[in-house]
Point group: C2
Chain length 435, copies 2
Amino acid sequence: MKAKERIWTTQLAEHVGEQVRLMGWLHHYRQLGEIGFIILRDKEGLAQIVSTEDSMASESLHILHESVISVEGRVVAEAQAPGGFEVHDPRIEVISPSVEAPIFDLFRPQIKAHPSTILDHAALSLRHPKRRAMARLASASIAGFRSALSEQGFVEIQTPKIVASATEGGANVFKLDYFGRPAYLAQSPQFYKQTMVGVFERVFEVGPVFRAEPHSTPRHLNEYVSLDAEMGFIENHQDVMSVLTEVVRGMAGAVAREKAALALAGATVPQVPATIPVIHFTEAKLLYIEATGEDVSGEPDLSPSEETWLGGWVEREHGSEFLFVWGYPMVKRPFYTYPDPQRPDYSNGFDLLFRGLEIVTGGQRLHRYEDYLRSLEGRGLSPEPFEGYLEAFKYGMPPHGGFAIGLERWVARLVGAANIRETALFPRDYGRLTP
Amino acid sequence: MKAKERIWTTQLAEHVGEQVRLMGWLHHYRQLGEIGFIILRDKEGLAQIVSTEDSMASESLHILHESVISVEGRVVAEAQAPGGFEVHDPRIEVISPSVEAPIFDLFRPQIKAHPSTILDHAALSLRHPKRRAMARLASASIAGFRSALSEQGFVEIQTPKIVASATEGGANVFKLDYFGRPAYLAQSPQFYKQTMVGVFERVFEVGPVFRAEPHSTPRHLNEYVSLDAEMGFIENHQDVMSVLTEVVRGMAGAVAREKAALALAGATVPQVPATIPVIHFTEAKLLYIEATGEDVSGEPDLSPSEETWLGGWVEREHGSEFLFVWGYPMVKRPFYTYPDPQRPDYSNGFDLLFRGLEIVTGGQRLHRYEDYLRSLEGRGLSPEPFEGYLEAFKYGMPPHGGFAIGLERWVARLVGAANIRETALFPRDYGRLTP
């Protein structure tokens, strides 16, 4: 007899009274007197299987949680069951048994283990419905990013991660041996996406970036996914901020369609205002001093506590979970940054804060060859290692700018994760290189 | 007076008789007697601008090819003009001048320079309409790959490229220093995509892979873009081949929609048959011997000349540009390969040839923990470095398999490029690490 076609756990409602076949993992099993309850997990969700026959009880007791099983049975509406439906009179087949009992339970609302144990055992912990939901939100976010940009005429590119020179001109790069020559892992696709503005005018890339920052914080990873975009023929950084606003709206929209994952991950979809509030860096500094009395205005960057405070401020004052801070001091921005023509010590560069955390850095870039030579010289850098990049500016480049969204930071803010490691599948940090 | 809204060169037909504004690069300029002809290039295409006024001639003569310009003028239908329309009475503004004349001409049908010069000057050469078209086909191919898989319930993942151990167990990995510890660049996302089958059942990833193969051939790159997929709950490798067939169909369909790029790149869209012809490895070997008299049957792999011959054979015999070869000897496949239950020296692994070149490798994988331990032992490998990966099989994994498409090889076959370097934006090979 040919086996029934498989259905998903989320399709039970469409098959009430019918014989169906489910396949998936033995998420949970318990025996209450004469009745055995199995929760089966497949890619879409969970389903309860109930048996009063000894056969199931004895068979199931011999298999461990997370074994892969196939179940044929009859769908019954049952208000008490999770989702309102369950499967009765099951015939259970073990497809692939677990060889050990899982070291932590996946059927509890939260994994009860030390955070580092959870990360050490990613192959198991990522199967937990909540962690899996976070990964699904990451996937939806990327899709939203891409479709928002594709709609605006951006072309996707893939650029090399092994590079001959350090992107931003120095520290914090991973070094590798390239057939006997020194090479580095790209800290960003910055040079390449700018170069490609000369080709496609508007480009984006989704890919890994590598930062050899020798410290551990809850907001840094040493390898992460960067959502990069760059666009030509802009007036100034404000055009970039407008596109970014639509991109963030597209990402929030894509995430909003993942209702099951949102609920499981405990995520809240942000409202993206028609225009995201904008504040100048110096003004942000002043507001913070006024409010806290803490004078950190000498620092050419915003501290985590300033960002957190500004997140609260923009929520209270403007009802927005997003805030653009622009005009960061030139001294803190890379050599390709375009200065504010009105106040050349400050830049046409911006950060986007989301719920009090910087998740995007962007801005206008220099586009004239001479400006690059001058900027490199001013920082004591030789133009030689940047030759292939500078060529793009030798041959007419339009005014342009772009941004980079940190995927894991965005997801962390979506789900309210205190530590960014929870939002990467297999995080890499100062102490962690496995699994 | 506010400047006119910019239109694309491809939109001239919609604006006949109107004043419009174009922006882009000075692709070509020539003066014929009293008449000046400019070809402007923007992200969408080319447009001819004609002037009989001295003002334009003199102004244009002072600017170099590839300078970024803005042109306002009146659209005129003109059968002689490229595309059938041109712009008259132009007012030209230089937005960003080139500082040097381009070292090769972009307005000729082909770049006239040595291949390595073309690659050395990617910032310039990628602007050539033909090379740009190839990049656009690559982009469309990736989009087709993703949408075909998303429609079939695959979830996108992003996995780490810095890993603690060599993926396939040994040679040809790039080594790097990870905060004083040795680490490697991932040769493929193989371990991670399999692990994620335990989470999402069906996953895909688009990302860079790194192969430290110390040689130069026209069909290898040391960093390339891999289009990876992996799926659970299969019967055997044939289920994987069915999905792959639909994916290739999706990629061909996405490419087919890029009509302008296809024409510029000189590409031919393949017909993907409802069922791609399949041949066993041993049978392929025999056919080749029969046809050529050359006995290379002892080799556990197909040589480039065998692949080329098979490409011709399947075209003649089956009218197909694609051929599945399955059942490669186990000895040539990695330790996670599932053997053919009928002939355990051969595998449930396959390659897909497209126009005589292997562009995909795939197959069924082992899914039982014990089988992994046995396979590693049989190859003299310790299970220890694979611990994080093997955990996925300790906790129930369904029968599964997958494939990896080499993006650059696919594009090379599409456009008939003799050398794969032409199809990567910034190729990395044994001798090339820049730009």
